[in-house]
């Protein structure tokens, strides 16, 4: 054993792991873990036990409905912003209401109940063991720039996924599930490992299982042929390494492929069922309780700009005129959501992968009615002493669209569609995430898994509510793992933007990161979040100069290094 090159031992152990041999004290594991020390990384002796799953909503949808906690406590300073709302009723309009849960003032969505595996749980239970870090200033604007940062905080240098790949003993160390667009310029493209490892990138259009295991399913090579390959490799010093990678590939692809395929299909069915269940119970949710009617033309308006009145109804650059905006989601679909969760669960359960990057795909098949373009609306004054009205221009017709795609980057998604579609998305998404979490718990993996829900940044609503822009001075990362107990909220925010850099200077509390005394007057950096995750996973941080925000105290248990307060800076 001692003579085997270290990579070979690692591959050998991957095989062992595949066969289910996995106790910490197993001699094989110890042998490979100790000798698997990378020459470049001398502090990590243990094989990576943890799995890392990053759920990345590229485009950055509005998260105040879900896990962007803008008001930690009932009495936290807060400046209301019309578009940043968690509830709607005809009586009171849009409000930022909350429910007390896990020690914080949580968004209303957490109160919704879900039936999972014959149990009733509320969405808030997703966060019962979690860390929500808000108010992280990303330093600069840009989707791709910040998306790459989420994985590799120092541009051009090793990524978290790369580091974990180097430490991993599993056959396919990193799997990346791509989105429809902008994939390689964003987080998946930032993968970099010291040892030249590669991730497996699967396009959204591919069948996930086929992409991973389909290529050599028809292999008919006989076992004695590998002896011939050995012969052809003659006396190369690398023969043992070649042999083990080949054995690994063979076993990975051939072993019980039918059984595994069946297992994956079962999982897809389960997630599809839960998604259907979620869609079926949509009408009972708090956000679908009441009709959300759009404004109809003609309407009195002294302002000639339609945005002033119709802003909240903006969608993809035109004004949606749905009589009831709830109808937007009547045929909503969630492409690849079931498959993404299914393959992730499958890969972790079968110990095939150590880190997974899920680039989520926005929902589709939204229904728009009576829509009008900007240039189809004009202001008219019928008589001198009657107030002017906004009307549909003569000769133009409104249009319907039943197949609209949602864009997470909601620059041109007004308040009404934003409220309905994002709440719907997070409602359905929570079903899948909760099932994912509970399934991992059942197989005792949830304390060895870090689920990291993240986007590039928060959003700043436009004054006319016709959309929202990039709030790159605030970012939220939510980490869910049974390695934690309780909900740990961290990060200070201002109640309003302290300087007028963005056009949205007059908006209320949206999550602009504020400084921390504990960090010597600095605001949070994403590198602190990176260090915190590394701490949980028991690996060296690739951003070690920025400390972890949590640490273990010998008597008090897990402690937070920073606070989560709203700093009132309203003028």
């Amino acid at each position: 054993m001692e003579d085997m090159p270290k990579n070979n031992r690692r591959d050998f152990n991957k095989l062992g792991l595949m066969l289910g041999v996995n106790t910490l004290l197993d001699p094989l594991t110890i042998l490979s873990t100790a000798q698997a020390q990378s020459a470049l990384n001398n502090s990590n002796v243990g094989a990576l036990e943890m799995s890392y799953v990053q759920i990345n909503l590229y485009g950055s949808p509005s998260r105040w409905y879900f896990d962007s906690i803008l008001k930690p406590k009932e009495f936290s300073p807060f400046k209301k912003e019309e578009m940043i709302s968690t509830t709607y009723s005809k009586k009171s309009g849009f409000q930022y209401e909350h429910i007390n849960m896990h020690g914080i003032a949580a968004p209303m969505l957490w109160n919704e109940n879900i039936k999972i595996l014959n149990q009733k749980k509320n969405i808030g239970s997703l966060f019962e063991n979690s860390m929500i870090i808000r108010g992280c200033n990303m330093g600069a604007d840009g989707h791709d720039l910040n998306s790459r940062k989420l994985v590799a905080p120092f541009s051009g240098e090793v990524s978290l996924t790369g580091q974990l790949s180097d430490l991993s003993h599993l056959p396919l160390t990193t799997v990346q599930l791509m989105q429809k667009i902008s994939s390689q310029a964003s987080a998946p493209g930032a993968f970099k490992s010291h040892q030249g490892q590669s991730p497996v990138n699967i396009k959204h259009s591919q069948d996930y299982f086929q992409a991973l295991f389909g290529s050599v399913q028809k292999e008919k090579t006989q076992s004695n042929y590998s002896e011939i390959i050995k012969l052809l490799n003659k006396n190369s010093s690398h023969k043992p390494l070649f042999q083990s990678t080949r054995a690994n590939a063979k076993d990975l692809l051939k072993k019980n492929i039918n059984l595994l395929s069946g297992e994956y299909e079962e999982l897809v069915k389960k997630y599809t069922t839960i998604i259907d269940q979620a869609i079926g119970t949509l009408s009972k949710t708090f956000f679908m309780k009441e009709k959300l009617g759009g404004i109809e033309l003609p309407i009195t308006s002294t302002n000639a700009n339609p945005h002033s009145i119709l802003g909240p109804q903006m969608f993809s650059g035109y004004f949606a005129g749905n009589d009831d905006f709830r109808s937007m989601v009547k045929k909503i679909e969630f492409p690849k959501m079931a498959e993404q969760f299914a393959i992730s669960e499958f890969l972790i359960k079968n110990k095939i992968t150590s880190s997974i990057l899920m680039m989520m795909i926005p929902p589709e098949h939204l229904n728009i009615e009576n829509a009008l373009e900007l240039d189809q609306i004009s202001q008219v004054r019928i008589k001198n002493n009657i107030e002017p009205k906004l009307v549909r221009k003569k000769g133009t017709k409104s249009f319907n669209e039943s197949d609209e795609e949602f864009n997470f980057d909601t620059h041109q998604t007004g308040h009404y569609p934003d409220f309905i579609v994002n709440n719907t998305y997070f409602y359905v998404f929570s079903h899948c995430l909760l099932m994912f979490k509970e399934n991992l718990r059942k197989i005792k993996k949830m304390d060895k898994t870090i689920i990291h829900l993240t986007t590039e940044f928060e959003r700043t609503p436009k004054i006319d509510q016709a959309g929202s822009d990039h709030g790159w001075q605030g970012h939220t990362s939510t980490i869910i793992t049974d390695k934690l107990s309780g909900l740990h909220l961290m990060g200070n925010i201002y109640t309003s933007s302290p300087y007028f850099e963005t056009p949205n200077k007059r908006v209320g509390t949206w999550g602009f990161g504020a400084p921390h005394q504990e960090l010597k007057g600095r605001h949070l950096s994403y590198r602190n979040i990176m260090s915190s995750m590394s701490y949980l996973m028991g690996v060296d941080s690739i951003t070690s100069i920025d400390p972890s925000l949590i640490y273990m105290d010998k008597t008090a248990g897990l402690k937070k290094r920073i606070s989560a307060i709203n700093i009132d800076n309203q003028r």
């Binding site: 840009g142 541009s155 667009i181 190369s236 260090s531 701490y535 028991g538 273990m552």
Partner: protein
């Protein structure tokens, strides 16, 4: 207490911890065994690097000096010791080390010793030298990324015994040359030379990890003006041109462009498709990757950078592309008047080339360096990484003390300047960054302006370019004394021989000169070529840190790098460097010493 018991107890103790820590190796001295849990408990939560589980690692990190607690930075940082140090750790006073614990730490340092590992020579001493023919196939493959055809003249001669493999390789290398800035198309070996040119440009580019101009606001238009690999052209030019000494890559304001040859002109720009058609019918195709459906041409054609196979490197003409307006962002459209030449460097050859500055700017667009929070640190860090092959820190922690102000300067409120650990990196990068203090990066929409585009596309097609604040017209600098001042920049680092270097200079050109006077850039380039040809990856930081405990392989590599570096500094010829590598024993071994020196 015997070692066994200690080990078992420690094993069970650590298995209770939520964060898996390292167990202590067998043979650990009792002093360190006592210190280790104290450090794990009171230091590691903030200082994750202090997870080291051997005294050796502590000594090699320079955190402790064997036998000398009074000079050991670690001991000096602890509160409650009898020595005069910072004495401010741990941060939380409630976590202070007790008197007994401090005494344990002191005893440990007093008795600490560096232990050289026993040579673990289970490897075979048999050296498999490859045949001449094999050597030729090897070097041909390395030089061209291709296989020679069986009819190759060199192969015939080697088979006939008329030529040695090494001589054939040497001839190939010597064939890498330009005739007036480009390959001679009439040369019988033009095809092979083209392959070698392409290969080496690729290799040189791979040494510069930052390549993506699509930073703020997806500034894809920048790819039409600057090739992200144009930094590498400086090195490729020196390799293919014997009249260009290596040190010239660090000097001058001239920038370089690729000379490319193709049979027809390209209709496409280098940009990603938007997957939508705009009115009027404008859509653009990426040459860069996936999801392209039906390509549609986009006029005007690319005109600033050539397309086709690389055949040469030429100096970019100046005064051709002058810019008069810049913007800070697409949102803030207030134009800033300026006067700059797009293709002029900032001195120091590749150090001040526009591509390198933009890719390593590291600040928000339009940021003005004011000697404090904002500085060209990403750039100077990049220089240490790319051209010295070193990761920060590059000085010892005890060195940083000498560069810290004793008095609290009320005007400066930078937290990192008060911390030795922070300054260990900042001393080197900040003092170098002063030389680029007048650089900023702005936007222009040179490409978008020529097209009739919707607003969104204008956003995505901005071009970034560096400009000196001195070229901004009617501009109010927030820190004019700093901008106009004569504050010197410094090159401060510990070199290959562990000697602390401190060289003064004023601008980027001066930095280039200071660098070429040192051995380290030469060693860095030698290391990179050696890694490429043999596959043996060298962590230079580790190699230098471990100097006192090198094993056989490391000793050989260290000596080789020194030799190659000194030779290159003398002859300034990259071809000779490659030939030297071909001449090493490593290159003639079947698996490059895999069995002889691998641990």
């Amino acid at each position: 207490m015997n070692y066994f018991t200690v080990l078992i107890i420690l094993f069970f103790c650590f298995s209770c911890n939520k964060k898996p820590t390292l167990a202590l190796p067998s043979g650990t001295d009792t002093h360190f065994a006592k210190v280790f849990p104290i450090i794990q408990e009171k230091c590691v939560s903030c200082h994750s690097e202090m997870i080291w589980n051997t005294t050796n690692q502590w000594i090699l990190s320079d955190y402790i000096i064997p036998g000398n607690p009074k000079q050991s930075p670690f001991f000096l940082s602890l509160r409650g010791t009898h020595v005069k140090g910072k004495g401010n750790m741990p941060i939380d006073k409630q976590e202070d080390l007790t008197a007994e614990e401090l005494s344990i730490v002191e005893n440990w340092i007093l008795t600490a010793k560096l232990i050289k590992p026993k040579s673990n020579n289970t490897a075979s001493n048999e050296k498999k030298i490859i045949s001449d023919l094999r050597l030729f196939y090897r070097c041909y493959g390395h030089l061209t990324q291709a296989r020679p055809t069986p009819s190759n003249i060199f192969i015939k001669k080697i088979k006939n015994g008329e030529l040695k493999g090494l001589d054939a390789c040497n001839k190939l290398v010597k064939g890498m040359k330009f005739n007036k800035n480009k390959l001679d198309i009439n040369n019988i070996d033009f095809t092979t030379q083209k392959l070698m040119l392409r290969n080496f440009q690729s290799l040189h580019s791979s040494w510069f990890p930052n390549y993506n101009f699509a930073n703020n606001n997806q500034t894809w238009g920048t790819f039409e003006f600057f090739d992200p690999n144009d930094v590498a052209l400086y090195i490729t030019r020196s390799l293919f041109n014997d009249q260009v000494p290596f040190k010239e890559i660090f000097s001058g304001e001239v920038t370089y462009s690729a000379i490319r040859k193709s049979e027809f002109k390209s209709d496409y720009l280098v940009y990603r498709s938007k997957l939508e058609l705009y009115q009027p019918m404008e859509s653009f195709l990426l040459s860069l990757g996936q999801d392209a459906t039906k390509p549609m041409p986009w006029l005007p054609r690319p005109k600033y950078l050539e397309r086709g196979s690389l055949v040469g490197v030429t100096a970019t003409a100046m005064n051709q592309n002058k810019i008069n307006i810049g913007f800070i962002s697409d949102a803030v459209r207030k134009p800033i008047k300026l006067n700059t030449d797009f293709n002029k460097g900032f001195g120091g050859g590749l150090l001040g080339s526009p591509g390198y500055l933009v890719l390593n700017f590291g600040n928000n667009l339009g940021t003005i360096m004011e000697d404090g929070q904002h500085n060209m640190r990403t750039w100077s860090k990049g220089i240490f990484r790319d051209l010295f092959c070193r990761d920060l820190p590059v000085i010892k922690i005890s060195d940083s003390k000498n560069y810290m102000d004793e008095d609290d300067d009320e005007d400066r409120d930078l937290a990192f300047e008060k911390s030795e650990q922070c300054m260990q990196c900042h001393v080197s990068i900040d003092s170098m960054a002063i030389s680029a203090k007048n650089v900023t990066v702005l936007l222009n929409n040179l490409i978008a302006a020529e097209l009739d585009l919707e607003d969104m596309d204008k956003v995505h097609l901005q071009t970034m370019f560096p400009v000196s604040t001195k070229n901004l017209i009617n501009f109010k600098h927030p820190n004019l004394p700093y901008a106009n001042g004569n504050e010197k920049a410094y090159l401060i680092y510990r070199n290959f021989y562990d000697k602390l270097i401190e060289k003064e200079f004023s601008n980027i050109e001066g930095l280039g000169k200071a660098m070429t006077d040192q051995i380290d850039p030469y060693i860095c380039i030698s290391k990179r070529y050696f890694e490429y040809f043999t596959g043996i990856k060298i962590n230079l930081n580790q190699l230098l840190k471990r100097k006192k405990i090198h094993d056989a392989g490391e000793t050989k590599v260290y000596q080789l790098l020194e030799k190659l570096g000194l030779e290159l500094k003398k002859h300034q010829n990259l071809k000779l460097l490659i030939l030297s590598i071909f001449n090493t024993e490593w290159y003639h071994l079947q698996d490059f010493g895999y069995n002889q020196y691998r641990k």
